[in-house]
Assembly symmetry: C2
Homo-oligomer: 763 residues x 2
């Protein structure tokens, strides 16, 4: 009964962590929003003042500010947090897939991502601030687990880190678009081929997303000085919509916009990929990367500054209630405004509202120019060394595209349409064209437009755009994963490699340990290679367990060795002795199984004997394990969870069993608790300290009993199993190391890691 | 290259099947809607005419019609389609979990569900027509695969049947609520612990749901004679909403409604469960079940008929534009109407709109009576022998509850509230209280109210209701699953059984075959037990494959045997000979693996040699398998897919390889194609025909080579593996049979089936 009570507490703390994360992400979204808004406002206010004096002076002011912001952002990114560059979604996909990408998680990355994002967006680059909130959320999720709260250290393992990072990403997107369901689905979609996503997690993520939306909303209302309205609203909102925004005859045109969106998206991916290749080839030095950003910023600022004058120097009479945006006079007389300048110089969210407003009037030249500027500069800017998002540019480009198409249709084909609806369809198409998000994008668009009636047209355009784009290439994220060579596990083995078997994939011979290796053996092994997982074998090289490098290092650092008490071959006890002779029939196996189940039952009464001194286990070598000697096993079960490296993610009750009792494991010199095996913040494998190494050298002949710390009976395959079965096991059971045994007698013959599989998978 | 082209075609046909399903489900939703509406209309019209003559005569007319409809529905259900009773959601959960519940899928069930549902709803029982659309959709999905279309037989296996059934259920719910995302999430949520749900499937299901919503919408518009508006709209719509439906001070009250909802829901489940037990105990005979329905209908009709008169005989002046419902005069003077009668005698969807209308005025007595009538009769009616849904009653009860609370708060606490918002929150709370749906219910409510602003209050009330309800019992569906004893696999093994190992679970000794058993052995085995899967063992009882009863029966029926050509022990070739001596090192294994991968490659050129005569394989017994003898294996791979019984669901390209070429497998008397192994409509295992049995008897000493038809290298566990690992494998790899091998030498010792595990799982 105390077990289930413990589980209840763990569950409660997990909910607390997720709720706190929601609050924190909402807060950070607000900070990003305020930062961006404030910086942009300063820039525009000063520029406008100077502009009224002289156009060239205005340009200089404008470009100085832009370069200042952009340069700072680039320097921060390049020298302080290289992991913060770009959107972070591909790396996030890799992370959720089980890869620890260097620099992806970290406080410096967080700082750069927040501050750099604000600076980069204010510098006038054609990028958005929405996508990176997913990355920010993921880091914040990570950080939440390291807050000084009771029991948080319980969740400091790779499995829980992934879960809370997914929740953070969801909360970030939810806050960005005011879309809790959309955010949750986004997290689901980007963690696609991985199945750590359980149903309980969905609930938590959804809750976390709702809270972050809510908090952002409260803060925004407060800032605007309104009384707190608790409608959900994100950083982008499309504003109010009329209720009957389209007719049946619009549908084919929506499909055509979908085709455009798909083509433009595919082209975007292609160009961006090539630019990235050039970048990789030529920008080998940190300062070159900064220079690239500076050139981009200068170019963008200049084009935006002069475009209204050079190409479209028209002035319109200011009208009341036409569009929500602030009118920009630019070079016009008083009382008039320049429409393109109004577009280019207003904050993006206002522009989107204007583009989606059904009253607003635009003409082709203005829209086309706007479209071209944003498309070209976005494709160039995304991937440079500043934090950058792609959602907002997609919406901008798409709105312009949709409006252009809408105007054309209105003038030439059918008068009875609403160009504002076309703008929404356009943005959905463009976004689907390059992100290739499906479900989640549809819901995000739905929640952002706040109009369920638009759902079917959005879906149909999205489908078309997705399908057309898919004919040419994979999504921007997947291409990016490929370019970065991230060993991402997909669901399906390519046809040409279907015939491979496990023994073709595996690394062999494999570095393995016996149950009680000597200190010198361990040190030699972990220093001679960089494998992270080592199978443990019993008699005759038969697989009995798996231990991670991290565990071994902890054991050595903590000096958990003891004197080797006898030289007889140590039997593997409990788990291997049941039927180690060849005369076993199924009957005997059942019996020995009974014995084991009695042994294993003892976690229930572990509270009674909190300390087991392993030095006494000379008796173990008799082969007949006394009933109360099973505690090492049970401790192993504990460790298994806390450090499980994604082995069996959902064994929640195992987790429970290790909770709340500070049972320790006493050795010669030190008593260990499960906290010693907690992952550090970056999930780096610790290295051996100098002192520990020295100490080890004096104890080369001592042995460490690994049984207490290994993953017992790890999932394994026989050597003739197919690659598809191996991939299935890796994916579904969230493995990192899969020992391969001979099909005949279960002797260990090799080990398969993620990299081994990845070599045969093409994305 | 032709492989991937085939895959493309398979994919295309799969999309076609899903789209067609969308159309069909939309059509059926429309039929159900029209049927219900028409029957109800007739009943009311005739009753009203008679009522004006005499109240008692009116009552007789009313009750005669109700009994006619209700009785017909019950007789249809009991005698023609017992599987159509109730909502069908628990059985659907079981079905998606991998269980073939008898009578759940079938044309008779479909007919009864559609017609019986229309009749039952029109009979005046307090039930809804929305939930059963999920069941109808699932059956329609099944039927779609059996339409006479090209390539549909390709999908006639258990795996694809599950997928399309899930899509059908989603489409049904989507049509019912005009909620494509909600429908898809509903299907996701009820297939929760199962992971056949891949990402590609989500897309297809979503598409299918959108189409069904769309089709229903078009048809409804057409019927109403409006020009076709393509807004999405389902059978229930809550109508238009104002944009600022609540303030911050409303939130605590919403939570309180959540508490009420949770309590009422838990009570509902409890009472319903007890009623179901009584039903099981006393209604043992078919006619008794019909009588129960008749009594219920008579009771409901009488109470509804007299309630306004006995308890609430008030008359109000008819007003224009107050509520949308048709005024029911009842016993009032001309120009006046009876409010409770207006509630009880109008179609449900109108009543919901009235309850949600912000203009409408109600008083406590009226609302309370309405609430009590619906709550009591719903709890009694759900589970009786007619098709019945629970969504609509939940909404009705919830609306009344919300309105009552709202009025109380408005009068006593804060004047500034909108009772209509409280009604929505109330219905969400009640629904969450007994269905315990989370994500999907939130989205369904969101899409039905068409107001994203209501999302946060709905979520918070839902959370509270879910949490409160969870303190008392599991969801109505889960309780129902328990009561029906469906072996449903959940994610987590209960703590008390965590220590069991595979050898404790397994059935042992196990019935197995050698690679080439004689006909007499097969007949003896399959007639002496009712196992559905048989391991195939090679030398020394080492596991090499798994074959299903269905395959064996087909092989016997088709007389696929041949003369036993030699008496030397047949080696297991390819898959077992690689390293059958004990001297193997990992190096040898790699080599033999190479050989295998060459063998297995041959599916690529199978088109060249379409017929292999197995009689020639004397040469196989040399142990050295010639390269072109591998076709049996490759055919096995084919069969594996078409009949895989949920082994490896996503091996799509394997699927591709068997597509398009009618390659056959020639035996003494018959040539087999993969079509012979297709599942029949009900996935029943065929029995041996008399003729085949006779024929078998004359060939008792012939042998059947099973290698071509078995699942090669099935997933298996060693006997000391824990129950949690076994459950993981079952769930994640969608198994039905899991052979257990000895940990020492992979000799077969037992087999685990779903039932074996279920014995140790409590829900």
């Amino acid at each position: 009964q105390s077990q289930s009570k413990m589980g209840w507490w763990v569950n409660l703390y997990s909910w607390i962590a997720f709720s706190m994360l929601g609050v924190i992400v909402g807060l950070f979204a607000f900070i990003v929003d305020v930062l961006t808004e404030q910086l942009t406002l300063w820039k525009w206010q000063i520029t406008e003042t100077v502009f009224n004096v002289s156009i060239m002076l205005g340009w200089i002011t404008f470009i100085v500010f832009s370069l200042l912001f952009g340069g700072t952002a680039a320097i921060l990114t390049v020298f302080m947090g290289p992991g913060a560059a770009s959107g972070g979604t591909p790396e996030l996909m890799g992370y959720l897939n089980g890869i620890n990408y260097p620099q992806f998680i970290g406080l410096n990355t967080l700082f750069v991502k927040v501050v750099g994002l604000g600076l980069a967006v204010s510098s006038g680059l054609c990028i958005g601030k929405e996508g990176p909130l997913a990355h920010i959320g993921a880091i914040l999720g990570h950080c939440t687990l390291y807050l000084p709260l009771p029991m948080m250290d319980y969740f400091r393992n790779d499995a829980d880190k992934r879960e809370i990072a997914a929740a953070g990403a969801a909360a970030g997107v939810a806050a960005a678009f005011g879309s809790p369901i959309g955010g949750s689905l986004f997290a689901y979609e980007i963690s696609r081929p991985s199945t750590f996503w359980s149903f309980g997690l969905t609930w938590k993520i959804f809750f976390c997303s709702s809270i972050s939306t809510f908090v952002l909303n409260i803060l925004s209302s407060y800032k605007r000085g309104e009384d707190v309205r608790i409608m959900n609203a994100g950083l982008i909102k499309f504003g109010q919509y009329d209720q009957n925004p389209y007719k049946l005859h619009d549908l084919p045109f929506f499909m055509i916009i979908g085709v455009f969106g798909g083509l433009l998206g595919a082209m975007f991916i292609n160009i961006n990929f090539r630019v990235a290749q050039y970048r990789k080839k030529y920008l080998t030095d940190n300062w070159k990367k900064v220079h690239e950003v500076i050139i981009l910023v200068a170019l963008t600022a200049t084009v935006i500054y002069f475009a209204p004058m050079m190409l479209y120097n028209d002035c319109l009479q200011e009208e009341e209630g036409n569009i929500e945006a602030r009118f920009i006079r630019y070079a016009c007389d008083k009382g008039k405004y320049n429409p393109l300048a109004t577009f280019l110089f207003n904050p993006e969210s206002t522009v989107i509202k204007a583009l989606l407003s059904k009253n607003a009037q635009f003409d082709y030249a203005q829209l086309t120019l706007f479209f071209v500027i944003w498309y070209c500069f976005t494709v160039l800017s995304y991937g440079s060394s500043v934090p950058a998002g792609l959602f907002l540019p997609g919406i901008m480009i798409g709105c312009a595209l949709g409006r252009i198409t809408g105007h054309f249709i209105e003038n030439r084909i059918i008068g009875d349409i609403r160009p504002s609806t076309y703008a929404i369809i356009g943005s959905a198409s463009i976004l689907a064209g390059y992100t290739r998000l499906s479900f989640s994008l549809a819901v995000i668009m739905l929640e952002t437009t706040e109009n369920v009636g638009l759902f079917l047209p959005i879906i149909s355009a999205l489908f078309v755009s997705f399908g057309i784009g898919r004919l040419f290439n994979r999504s921007l994220y997947v291409e990016s994963l490929k370019a970065k060579n991230i060993p991402f596990l997909i669901e399906e083995v390519p046809q040409c490699n279907k015939d491979l078997t496990a023994c073709k994939l595996m690394t062999s011979p494999v570095q393995s340990f016996t149950i009680q290796p000597t200190v010198s053996q361990i040190i030699e092994t972990i220093q001679s290679n960089d494998f992270n997982g080592f199978p443990i074998v019993g008699e005759d090289r038969r697989l009995v367990g798996l231990i991670s490098r991290q565990h071994l290092v902890v054991l050595l650092n903590k000096q958990c060795w003891r004197v080797k008490t006898n030289d007889t071959p140590i039997s593997t006890e409990g788990r291997d002795s049941l039927g180690s002779r060849s005369d076993k029939s199924s009957n005997i196996l059942v019996n020995s199984g009974d014995k084991r189940s009695v042994n294993d039952q003892s976690p229930h009464d572990k509270g009674k004997k909190p300390r087991i001194v392993l030095d006494e286990n000379d008796i173990q070598s008799t082969g007949e394990l006394p009933q109360d000697q099973d505690s090492p096993n049970q401790l192993a079960t504990k460790k298994q969870k806390a450090n499980k490296k994604y082995q069996q993610l959902d064994e929640e009750t195992q987790q429970e069993s290790s909770f709340g009792s500070d049972q320790s494991y006493q050795y010669d010199f030190y008593s260990l608790t499960w906290r010693d095996f907690n992952m550090n913040f970056h999930s780096h494998v610790p290295s051996l300290s100098e002192k520990a190494l020295l100490c080890c050298e004096q104890n080369y002949d001592k042995v460490i009993d690994l049984r207490a710390f290994m993953i017992e009976k790890p999932f394994n395959v026989q050597s003739n199993y197919s690659i598809q079965q191996v991939v299935e096991l890796f994916r579904q059971m969230n493995l990192r190391h899969l020992p391969v045994v001979s099909e005949l007698d279960n002797k260990l013959v090799g080990i398969i890691t993620r990299q081994d599989i990845f070599a045969y998978m093409t994305m």
